[in-house]
Amino acid sequence: MTESNLAVPGAAGRLCLTVPADRVPCFFPLLQKGFVLGVPVGCPIRVLLRDGLGLTDEYIETRLQTVFLDGKPVDDIDGAFIRDGETLALAPAMPGLMGAMLRRGGFYAPMRSGITHRDDDNAAPRWIGEGRITMKLFGMALRELGPKLLERGIEVGAGDLSEVIRELPGDCREGLGDLEGLEGQARVTLRVTIAQEGKGTRD
């Protein structure tokens, strides 16, 4: 993944935290529920993943076998375009018959044809450039992509963030100070610096 920082335009508050590596998973519920990222839009999903997130084709092929665009399973990530405001969910191959059905281009894809993303759902992107999408990460994609995206900065709902921070273990909350101010914000840009050891801090 590229190290460049993509700003999240439009987010109101900003919170930078330093947490030990073993506490990073505490933030994973936010990444599952959905977070906003500034990314190139109007391009095929593959282009976004490659150029926007810096993922290699090999990673995309072998690790991201389940892809949803606005809740619709995608079979062809080269033919499906992402537009401003849409939701992209990324996951690896999933277990069971249901996992097989949802896998992109899989043999069992016809069994969910009623909800499959079709080219004509968004064949003609109206605008190409920077935009904001909601992204969700599941399974190993959460562990593999989540920490880097947290370091880069994501926009989340302030209420959801407060809930996560309240649930953090005490040693991790130490040094974070008064977070009550978050409640007043609708959205917050969160950036997490991962400390190799030691306590959490608020910059």
Binding site: G71, A91, L97, P110, M140
Partner: protein, 578 residues
């Protein structure tokens, strides 16, 4: 596995034990054996709780060997829930132990005249059936502790809790795991009630002094097992996703697909999913000193199960799996994983099917008995079932009974059995399997091996509507076959994607039986099993009219995709045309 253990519970003077050669059932195991016995020996019109029904407990064809993943055990009977034939299978230790003791199956027959409870003890020296009314109404956990005290900790138990004794249609048959806890269940179809009707509280198995079942060709068997294990370890689902997060890794993706039934199948998305997902569950288990990577029996290399600790770091239950978390979670609007884990613990202790009970509580919530999202109320309702109160007796008999008792229209059942955790409006193909399965709504009925490897029924054109019918049929055939081997269905992904892993499975079977098994043989076995089951059901009065989803799936739009179930009745009726 050359002998059958038959116990006639109606015999004069008390239960009569006979150990006989396996005879006409030779070469069968798991679901093939349970369905063969039930279809040949149980009159289809017999009352499920009467003396003519039989409860068959059969290890898989490869159970008791060193083959990885081979420890699933099938339980079969005429189901008090569906009124048709039933096979429900479970992990746990019993399958391996029973096979090493040389039994292809235990068959409980007849019905005791008095209201007595019995314990069956089986070891290499023989079988002992003892009347023991001190076991009455013990939960599975206390029961197993008592058995440990009496027989030591080298045993495996197959048991029922109070729900089975009360002959409830949601009652399960419990199997102990590697830690000798009653956490694995043949849950579906009320088979615990059949065991209760036989007066058998627990079967204690002790394989001390026995050894692995020997294959006819040990070298080929060993080599095939190595290839098989390598295939499972290298595949991202079986080697990584399932061990890391368990089956509940599905929650987020099914939710994203809009197919995660929420508030008694009202919606396809649950706002609290990220709080109860497999990813969140695994992190919580690690933080509390539990373990998200654990096998349900020795020889499992995937290890999709886990250990769940409470807030104080004490063992509460096994890692609640996908269906359980959905049934007690999203389906009831509950997003608190600790409350869901407590419901799982109570279900295991009372001996209840978690899917049926989650669906039942969803229906009860729809009826206004409790509020959606109220986890404590759900816990109280399950406790009512354990106590056997009047309300508990209604709930313990499942979603269909509860819907009738409280006048609820949206009752998600097929053949009276509650639907599992995938809404068939969003994923139409699974609806075909739910509707037509011989077992009632059952996700595992069409869960398994790739038809493109087995080449069952030839190539399926995915663009044609009938493709869904073909796929469902082929999956049901393949699943019936896999359920007969004793293999856990989670091998499916590796077998599906990696031809050499599928070949290794065939080689394991071939080397064990000294035959040359092909994909066609597996297909033929699956078809044979389904044919027995269909014939039994037809004679039991289950017709095409029961091969249908409830009406609301065709009438009510499911958000967010706003879809209804579209597969026609005529197409559903084609599933078993082969």
């Amino acid at each position: 596995m050359e002998k059958l253990l038959r116990i006639n519970m109606s015999a004069e003077g008390g239960p009569a034990v006979s150990v006989i050669p396996v005879g006409e059932y030779a070469g069968l195991g798991g679901r093939a054996l349970t369905s063969a016995v039930v279809s040949k020996e149980v009159p289809p019109l017999a009352h499920p709780l009467g003396e003519d029904n039989k409860l068959v407990i059969a290890p898989g064809m490869l159970s008791g060997t060193i083959a990885a993943m081979s420890g699933r055990c099938s339980v079969g009977a005429k189901s008090p829930l569906t009124g048709g034939i039933k096979e429900s299978n479970s992990g746990g230790q019993a399958s391996q132990v029973l096979a090493r003791l040389g039994y292809a199956a235990i068959i409980l027959e007849g019905k005791p005249g008095e209201n007595d409870l019995y314990k069956v003890f089986v070891n290499k020296d023989g079988v002992k059936v003892t009347r023991d009314n001190s076991l009455k109404m013990l939960g599975n956990y206390d029961l197993v502790e008592k058995m440990k005290g009496e027989h030591g900790d080298k045993i495996a138990c197959v048991s029922i809790g109070p729900a089975g004794e009360m002959k409830m249609c949601a009652a399960s048959v419990a199997f102990t795991d590697m830690e000798l806890r009653p956490t694995r269940h043949a849950g579906r179809g009320g088979l615990g009630a059949v065991m209760g009707s036989k007066g058998v509280k627990v079967i204690v198995l002790d394989d001390t002094g026995t050894s692995h079942c020997a294959p006819k060709d040990p070298d080929k068997f060993k080599a095939a097992n190595k290839t098989f294990v390598d295939g499972l370890r290298k595949h991202p689902v079986t080697g990584e996703g399932l061990p890391s997060f368990g089956t509940n890794i599905l929650a987020n993706v099914i939710n994203e697909a809009g197919a995660y039934p929420t508030h008694n199948f009202l919606w396809g998305r649950f706002v609290g999913t990220s709080k109860i997902s497999g990813e969140t569950e695994a992190e919580l288990e690690k933080a509390r000193g539990g373990n998200p990577t654990h096998g349900c029996h020795r020889g499992c290399v995937i290890r999709c199960s886990g250990i769940f600790h409470d807030k104080d770091g004490h063992y509460l239950t096994k890692q609640p799996e996908y269906e359980t978390v959905w049934a007690h979670g999203a389906n009831c609007g509950i997003d608190n994983i600790d409350e869901i884990a407590m419901l799982d613990r109570l279900d295991d202790d009372y001996g209840l099917d978690t899917i049926e009970m989650g669906a039942t509580i969803g229906v009860a919530m729809e009826a206004g008995i409790a509020r959606f999202g109220d986890g404590q109320a759900a816990i109280n309702l399950i406790r009512e079932v354990g106590k056997g109160s009047a309300l508990g007796r209604i709930l313990g008999n499942g979603a269909a009974m509860t819907g009738r008792a409280f006048g609820v229209e949206r009752v998600p059942v097929v053949k009276n059995q509650a639907l599992p955790a995938y809404d068939p409006r969003a994923i139409q193909g699974i609806g075909v399997t739910y509707a037509t399965s011989t077992m009632g709504a059952d996700h595992t009925a069409g869960y398994a091996v790739a038809t493109n490897i087995l080449k069952v029924g030839g190539y399926v054109d995915p663009l044609k509507p009938e493709g869904q019918i073909e796929l469902s049929r082929n999956l049901q055939i393949a699943t019936a076959a896999i359920d007969s081997t004793g293999m856990c269905l989670f091998i499916a992904f590796a077998v599906m994607d990696q031809p050499e892993t599928f070949q290794a499975l065939l080689d394991l079977l071939s080397a064990f039986y000294g035959v040359n098994m092909t994909g066609d043989d597996v297909t033929a076995l699956g078809k044979k099993v389904l044919t027995w089951e269909r014939e039994f059901n037809a004679q039991a009065g289950l017709t095409k009219a029961q091969d249908r989803l409830p009406e609301f799936f065709r009438k009510e739009l499911l958000p967010p995709h706003n879809v209804t179930f579209q597969v026609s009745d005529a197409d559903l009726d084609k599933v078993f045309d082969w």
